[in-house]
Amino acid sequence: MASEESALSPGRSIWAGVLIGVGVAAFLDETVFHQLLHWHHFYDRSTPAVGLVSDGLFHAFGWFATVIGLIMVADLVRRSGLSGRALAGGVLLGAGAFQLYDGTIQHKILRLHQIRYHVEIAPYDWSWNVIAVILLLVGAWVLRREGRRR
């Protein structure tokens, strides 16, 4: 039983975490920067079509990923196969990956919208993407330690 679980669970826990991480990052982006601060714009009139498609895809995927990630956690708990550290590492990786994609590809290359308007944008971009890389690094470190413990 134990061998079967350790073969099954960390991978699933990590994937559940990655899905939740992407969803949480997309959700925070939407609530904090669009709705609360009003820094981001719904649409800033300089976005090409491909930017809108990318935004639509990640917007739709974020919600779906959150729901599926949470139900995967419930399923792992039911099978007593949840690894909390693997889950945490996955959440950090997912959130960091989305943040980095959003900050580089969507904001800069696809010009979806900028982080804030009428300000010097460089410090905002650097903060955004450095935070993303830190999330990724911490996530990778948590998963590495978790891998060693096994």
């Binding site: 039983m1 649409y43 809108l52 639509g56 995927f61 599926i68 139900i71």
Partner: protein
């Protein structure tokens, strides 16, 4: 008024079917009846009642209810399953089962086809002269309403798969279809924000487009929750099933001891 009459007739038939089941001692969840009733009322109100906001915003609220929320509630009421269980054996029941299991129905609820009919129909409505045409011809307007409701029902059945169908499609295909349809809906909403159909004055088109964008999210999350809960329940049934073929032990968490096996082993 036609909408209210249709909703009343549908709910009356539904209740008659549920009562017939109850009288002969079969269970039928009152939650399903509630879901169907609210869905039918919602669809009727969306078509017949005056809705808040500017003309374009009200139109969007109407389409959200008619094309997404009402279909989900109607489908979760499982009217086809109820009808098949309540109808006596005979022509009507055979016809209904034959239709539900037909190749044509299987094609229509193939998830990508249902999504194309649903969201594709919206793209055609808003990005062609069709939208303007519906404002001049009442019959075209009514047909569009009917299409929005039926396509919404098809899409919901395709994603949730709660009624008896010819094929069961994989959760991966249904999930991917849901995400892609959600994305196409979100892109259309933003495209309407940028270039709304002619004839509406600001800020009505912007409000309407945002209602469409965020209202679509609510429907997508609800569909994802149904999909996820059904996957979870199926997993639970698989766990409770005795694992005879693999010779496995009963699962520790289910708490259902299968007594013969342990006693034999102890001896």
């Amino acid at each position: 008024m036609t909408a209210y009459a249709a909703a009343l007739a549908a709910v009356a038939l539904y209740i008659a079917g549920a009562l017939r089941l109850r009288r002969r001692g079969d269970a039928w969840s009152p939650w399903r009846a509630l879901s169907f009733g609210v869905g039918a009322c919602g669809a009727a109100v969306a078509v017949a009642a005056p809705l808040p906001g500017g003309a374009f915003t009200a139109h969007m609220v109407q389409h959200l209810i008619l094309g997404m929320y009402a279909p989900l509630l109607l489908v979760l009421g499982r009217p086809i399953t109820l009808a098949l269980r309540a109808l006596p054996p005979g022509r009507v029941r055979r016809g209904l089962l034959g239709t539900a299991r037909s190749r044509a129905a299987a094609f229509l609820v193939f998830p990508p086809v249902a999504a194309a009919l649903d969201v594709g129909g919206l793209w055609i409505l808003y990005r062609t002269p069709l939208f303007a045409a519906t404002h001049e011809r009442p019959w075209a307007h009514a047909l569009v309403h009917l299409h929005v409701l039926l396509a919404g029902v098809l899409f919901t059945v395709a994603v949730c798969q709660v009624e008896p169908l010819r094929h069961r499609y994989s959760i991966a295909l249904r999930g991917a279809t849901l995400v892609l349809a959600g994305a196409a809906h979100a892109v259309l909403a933003k495209s309407l924000w940028v270039t709304p159909p002619p004839g509406f004055s600001a800020p009505d088109p912007h409000t309407g487009a945002e209602v469409m964008y965020y209202g679509g999210d609510v429907a997508e999350i609800a569909l994802a929750v149904v999909l996820a809960l059904r996957w979870y329940a199926a997993g639970g049934r698989a766990l409770r099933r005795p694992a005879r073929s693999s010779g496995g032990r009963p699962h520790s968490r289910t708490g259902r001891a299968r007594t013969p096996l342990p006693t034999k082993l102890e001896r």
